[in-house]
């Protein structure tokens, strides 16, 4: 299958991952455990975009709110819409990233990197400049690594026997939105 077909046929995988991550982070009040690394903070905030349908009949719903006040977005899930974009705060060690994940293509958008001490170096000094560039690359790649670690956990559950139980819990969580 070529990439264009894969993008169309498998876009649900990224969207299911993002929805699962939202549930997973709310399950423990904004904390998700990364095996071997410990807890990381994953908070869904401010902005979400949900999608419904495919191709020409595609509809989207934009929701804004604060953290779990994103009631409208959860109601969107009840209506069968899928989470396509979400603004996420991710904290690991002393680093904090803020970014929007676009799920279908796994795009990192408007990524705000953690504040570090190395941002005030002399830009005219080639060594200081290279150090600054390498630090930014590390922070971009570290965010990718953490998201891929979370994605691996999701995939292993998604293709395994655990998924049925996980799905029941997610449905209960989505169902809560219906009752509120």
């Amino acid at each position: 299958m070529d990439l264009v077909d894969l993008i169309a046929e498998k876009r649900f995988i990224g969207q299911e991952f993002l929805t699962w991550l939202w549930w997973k982070s709310e399950e423990r009040g904004g904390v998700v455990e990364l095996p071997g690394e410990g807890d990381i903070v994953v908070v869904f905030e401010k902005h979400m975009l949900l999608e419904y349908g495919e191709g020409d009949s595609n509809e989207s719903l934009i929701c804004r709110g604060l953290q779990t006040e994103l009631q409208e977005a959860r109601t969107g899930l009840v209506m069968g819409k899928k989470l396509e974009q979400a603004r996420i705060q991710l904290v690991y060690n002393d680093y904090e990233w803020n970014f929007t994940m676009a799920a279908a293509l796994m795009e990192f958008r408007n990524v705000k990197l953690p504040k570090t001490g190395g941002e005030t170096g002399n830009e005219n000094d080639p060594e200081a400049r290279e150090g600054m560039v390498l630090e930014r690359i590390f922070l971009f790649e570290e965010l990718i690594r953490l998201m891929l670690d979370l994605f691996r956990i999701f995939l292993q559950i998604r293709i395994g026997n655990e998924w049925r139980d996980e799905l029941v819990k997610i449905r209960q969580w989505v169902g809560k939105a219906e009752r509120v």
Partner: protein
């Protein structure tokens, strides 16, 4: 914007294909060969090539300025002359009116109208200033991945072509399914291929 300063938007690619043993010599040669060429003093419609991430006028890359540790950092620069269709239509109509008056005719034949449009379009394009766009990238030589700092699909397609032309390597966008193939074990990948969308309500 993005890679060097401020907030950034990016996507990941895998770099597929083999590099020669003398990697840095090869890259130095290819980057300069496919460096951006200015079109401000020409009538070319567009130009695409590599520039330094720190300075879009730097196409010399002194002291291998694109190298940072095991990474290659480059910007893809595209200069394009564009004329809006409203402007083209305005000048085409103007010209047509002139010809009608001059030749005392009611209607201009279709073939002539096509000719007028083409010549007006070329003339306006020559007069238009080339608008630059710059897109940064960071190529990790150790694990053969590349971060491209734009989610613009046209820019991504241009990057794939320029990268292939420059280095003979193929870029494969790391969409979730493709990432999954890299993250999972062999048996798991077969299971991944079989899953279908689930309903969350």
């Amino acid at each position: 914007m993005g890679f060097i300063k401020g907030s950034a938007s990016y996507v990941r690619f895998a770099v597929e294909g083999d590099l020669p043993e003398n990697i840095w010599d090869f890259i130095a040669d290819r980057v300069v060969s496919f460096a951006f060429k200015d079109i401000d003093d020409t009538y070319d419609e567009d130009s695409l090539g590599w520039v330094s991430v720190l300075n879009m006028f730097d196409t010399e890359f002194d002291f291998a300025s694109y190298a940072a540790g095991n990474y290659v950092t480059l910007s893809m620069r595209l200069d394009e002359r564009k004329v809006s269709s409203a402007i083209v239509n305005k000048f085409v109509q103007k010209k047509e009116e002139e010809i009608k008056k001059e030749k005392q005719i009611q209607k201009i034949p279709r073939s002539m109208r096509v000719e007028i449009k083409e010549s007006i379009q070329n003339e306006l394009l020559r007069k238009a200033l080339a608008v630059p766009s710059v897109f940064d990238l960071c190529w990790n030589l150790e694990n053969s991945t590349l971060i491209f700092f734009s989610t613009n699909k046209k820019a991504q397609a241009l990057l794939e072509d320029l990268f292939k032309e420059s280095f003979g390597l193929t870029l494969v966008q790391q969409i979730p399914y493709v990432c999954g193939e890299h993250l999972l074990e062999e048996g798991e990948i077969d299971q991944l291929a079989l899953i279908t969308p689930d309903i969350f309500v």
